[in-house]
Amino acid sequence: MSVDPATVKKIARLARIRVDEAELPALADEVNGILHFVEQLQSVDVEGVAPLTSVVHRSLPLRDDVVTDGGSAETLLANAPDRIECFFTVPKVVE
């Protein structure tokens, strides 16, 4: 599998990363390098081996259904670039 500069451009756009047209071919080469490495990994026979989800042997911790947080709008909004009263505000995004 390999990607062309147009695909790299699309991925960058989806990830909201600005990339100059001129950089695209070089980036495509880099991404293809990674994909090539993964392709080599694919050749390993893993038949019957369960996917490794974590290197620590433990299960997902679960929490009780009790309210332990919240009530701190001022703290949350303290670093917000823009606010009105207790709302975050952003340039209008409307459908």
Binding site: T89, V93, V94
Partner: protein
């Protein structure tokens, strides 16, 4: 047999194919991955933890009760519970999604295939397949109408647990889609896993619609996002199917796209900004290990399930002999079904059903009340039915007593005594009243005897009037017949 669901186009018949993705908010105190509260209508940003606001370094910890609620819902939908499920990141950018991704489940959802039974108007049933149910986070709320060039963001809803319940494309009309939503809401309410309140956004539907020639392959579908009432779902489907048929009949083709229902205009329109919407670049969330459930815990949850609407309906039909459709109306919510049983126990169940579905429901509608805050209790309605059954009052007088019960809250027995409504069953008194009526209307008696038997009703009416409606109607009929026969 002609299929009533088919739509007549200019070039022949078309069939709708509909599938629904319902987002149901899990009833819980705290959010899916944080300890912030979920109460509706709180002050903006007052129920937000640093996890929900996407602060750097914050880690999600899953709420056990939300998992239990999802399992309970799966069991209620007779679905397969997956003992291992995985949380993934669904990546997209929007102002009310602080992390830039929603934690959801993609390849391995917590619940697999199940089913939902629809109760059709004619008393028959229809089964709709459930593809899956998965747990995910809700996003925050954006408000676009507060300022000329700013959007306001409130993150109180961000991180609240949702169940996305996906149906198979098994529905063939807007009516069936409406029945599906209604029934799903009923099941969720019985289970106590979602309050089903569409006005508060606790239940929202994405509607997938396509059209095809009857029996042909599925056509290309469009997805109508975030429809928030059953009425709008119906309207959106009707509009969208017609739009697609018009395009196809003009020789065009349908673009698979995301559309929005404009409830003001009653139309759907394309959401151009969602062109890349399906490119979510899912990957397993590295902050969360797979969710592994203990089979014993699942069995325990199953043991605790309440009697569900389908079982309750079957039991009401079997035990009380009422009609399947009546039973499905009664079980649409838990309270009316319980109310019916309280009234029907030890009484004539058909009489109980007809009173509850007739005068009693009409009264609730009129007063805008529900069974829980009704002015007439099950005990009081039962007593009224007892008074009819033992001939203390007639069915007609019972309606008058019922109105007085609604107004005064008094017991039916007390009202009957107070107003002197006790039915006259003393045949002597009834005979006397009849004799008097016949004597006063000798001309009509002659007409009746000469063959104008429609006048019988007139005599009954006169006798009932003379006795202020208190004469036992059966006795009146019988005695009157005897006296009028030549």
């Amino acid at each position: 047999m002609s299929n009533p669901n088919l739509i007549q186009g200019a070039t022949g018949e078309w069939e709708m194919v509909i599938g629904l993705e319902v987002h149901a908010q899990v009833t819980s105190n705290a959010k899916l991955f944080s300890g912030a509260a979920t109460t509706f209508g709180a002050e903006p940003n007052s129920q937000v933890s640093t996890v929900d606001a996407g602060f750097p370094g914050m880690l999600p910890v899953i709420n056990r009760y939300c998992v239990e609620q999802a399992v309970r819902t799966g069991l209620g939908l007779k679905a397969k519970i997956n003992l291992t499920s995985v949380f993934d990141r669904k990546n997209y950018f929007y102002a009310d999604l602080p992390n830039g991704y929603q934690i959801s489940q993609y390849k391995d959802p917590i619940v697999g295939e199940g089913r939902l039974i629809l109760d059709m108007k004619d008393g028959s049933t229809r089964e709709i397949g459930i593809t899956r149910l998965h747990l995910e986070q809700d996003a925050g709320k954006s408000m676009h109408d507060q300022h000329p060039n700013l959007t306001f963001v409130d993150l109180n809803r961000a991180g609240v647990a949702l169940m996305e319940i996906v149906s198979e494309p098994d529905m063939r009309s807007a009516e069936e889609a409406a029945l599906y939503l209604t029934k799903l809401r009923t099941v969720l309410r019985y289970l106590g896993t979602c309050d089903g309140n569409m006005e508060e956004g606790s239940m929202r539907a994405d509607v997938n619609v396509s059209v095809r020639r009857p029996g042909a392959e599925f056509g290309t579908r469009c997805e109508i996002k975030n429809v928030n009432s059953i009425r709008f779902v119906r309207a959106a489907i009707e509009y969208e199917a017609r739009r697609q048929i018009d395009i196809l009949e003009d020789g065009g083709k349908i673009d698979q796209e995301t559309r929005l229902f404009d409830s003001g205009k009653g139309v759907t329109r394309s959401m151009r900004s969602k062109e890349d919407a399906h490119d979510y670049r899912y990957f397993p969330d590295p902050d969360l290990l797979p969710l592994v459930l203990d089979a014993e815990w699942v069995a325990e949850i199953e043991k605790g399930l309440p009697e569900l609407p389908d079982e309750k309906k079957a039991r009401l039909v079997a035990d009380y002999g009422i009609k399947p459709y009546d039973a499905s109306v009664l079980v649409a919510e838990r309270e009316p079904a319980d109310f019916f049983e309280a009234v029907a126990k030890g009484r004539d169940p058909k009489l109980a059903a007809s009173w509850i579905m007739g005068d009693y429901f009409a009264m609730l509608n009129r007063l805008g009340k529900s069974v829980t805050d009704s002015p007439v209790s099950a005990k009081a309605l039962g007593e009224l039915i007892d008074l009819i059954a033992d001939d203390t009052i007639s069915g007609r007088i019972a309606k008058e007593v019922f109105e007085a019960m609604v107004e005064t809250g008094k017991a039916p027995g007390a009202i009957v005594e107070e107003k002197g409504l006790r039915q006259v069953t003393d045949t002597g008194a009834i005979e006397a009243a009849i004799d008097e009526v016949l004597a006063r209307n000798a001309d009509k008696v002659a007409e009746y005897r000469s063959g104008k038997d429609k006048l019988f009703g007139f005599f009954v009416g006169q006798v009932m009037k003379a006795t202020q409606g208190k004469a036992n109607p059966a006795a009146v009929n019988e005695i009157l017949k005897g006296k009028l026969s030549p």
